[in-house]
Amino acid sequence: MKGSIAKGAFVYTALVGLAIMSLVPFFWMLFTSLKPLSEVESGSFLPKDWRPGNFQEVFAQIRFGRYYLNSIFVASWVTYLTCLTSALAAYSFTRLEWKSRDFLFRVYLATRMIPGVVTQIPGFAIIVNLGMLDTYAALIVPSAFTAFGVFLLRQVMLGVPKALDEAARIDGANSWQILWEIVLPLSRSGIITLAIFSFMGNYGSLIGPLIMLKSDGLRTLPVGLTFFDSKYGSQTNLLMAASVMSIIPPLILFIVGQKHLVKGIQLGAVKG
């Protein structure tokens, strides 16, 4: 088994090296969040004057708790809607044969090729005209229907053997059942990945909430963070403290998701 010890050693070494590279900015963030303002720009990596009170200070200066809750709330909805509707759409694009199917998919994809900058203003005008300004809906709905999720799940579903569908159809299952009982469970890893992408993408978005909201009670974390980073001066240490605290929900989602991204999905149905 000499080969696999060498292989293991190689893998671990490479991974540790990469991990260190990834950890450096994170630790910079962490240590900066524990420094007093005057030390932020000093050359030292570690704080000389440890200030765990910074974390409390964040709550004192802005409505951090509410923004936090809003961010998780909105991102959860977006993730849910994206996964659900993209799964249905991808199913339609891969499993069902109908006219103009591939053409319409190309259109979906084509819309992603327009730089977001020029669709920002029309997008905003539409939101206003629908009366959705300054609502949760304005933060949730526009992000839940992009082509990214559809494309991703389409590719994933293409990897699920059609033979299983046919077997089930012979057993009398209709398309709805095939979707939920066979295709989706086998696309689990794709859905988990899409969930992670959607959540993180929406959780960190700034432009949407900045422009669409007026009420303080609806604001999300990125907007709250801008307080610490205005042109008159940045309270970078507090900004980092807030950022460190913000990481927790996507981090938890990621870890939970990773635990489910494990092997062991048996395709015995085909062989047997």
Binding site: T111, P142, I192, I247, F254, K263
Partner: protein
Amino acid sequence: MTAKNKKRATRIATILGLAYLLPNLLGFLVFTAGPVIFSFGASLTNWNIMNSPPLEFVGFRNYQQVGQSSQFWTFFINTVYFMAFIPVGIAGSLVVALLLDSRLRGMTLFRTLLYLPSFTAGVAIMIMWKGLYNPDHGLINACLRGVFDLFSLPFQGPGWLQSTQNLMGLHPEKIAFAVKDIGLGAREALVFMGFWAGLGGGNMLLYLAALTNMPDELIEAASLDGAGRWAVFRHVKWPQLAPTTFFIVIMSVIGGFQGGVDSAQVMTGGGPAGTTTTLAYHIFRKSFVEYQFGYASAVAWVLFAIVFAFSGLLWKFGNKETNY
């Protein structure tokens, strides 16, 4: 089936297909397709967001201007330059994903650690890299200097973010090549930074998901047949990864053409001398700094045409339905 029945069956199939599509399609039409169409309309006008001069329909004049603008081509080259390293980045993500797919212990931990840069505040990362790239005091040049000193070679640190030099010797002012313009400048700085960020990023995650989904039996069967690790990869894993690779390539190309706005805004301001201004950043500036929304939309649509054509080619070559 009779002709009538066949037609009926087709119609039912179409209705069924659309029914599943509907939830996503509705939202898509209103919030994605709508603004897109609007922006095309805007590109045909002289809309200057603040309404001075008065709005008028100008047909394709904006597009003419784009074609004649030498700036457009410079920025286009910038954009393509940044994208040239995409295949390397994708390969890197694949390698990392393969490493993480090993059955050794602690993989969940490593995955989280490697994905950490995506969680870390973008500001923090850019600040860190700005410091690393400092020509006189940054870590990168310090290390390079150390290496050169070992061999007693003279060392002139690359200018990185301050320099307009680049690996292809492109001159900043016109589209020309010159030896004295060769070096490691702002473009390379951003490219390397992007590569590092991408290593543990979304692409890695996608590959990981695909590898996880791969049935063990095939790999075992191949190994039993005496295939070495490289052969297993090339003949079993790689083809299975095809749909994922296709997705990643297309998304990277589309994203690559639209990218560069954040790093330009935070790190370089599009400079020095416009070398890190990509087309997307150019569009951003035209829209929100100069308020020339009509012209900016035209640039965006020209960009769209290029991306569409390019991805069309990729589609032709890559869109295989792997069903076995």
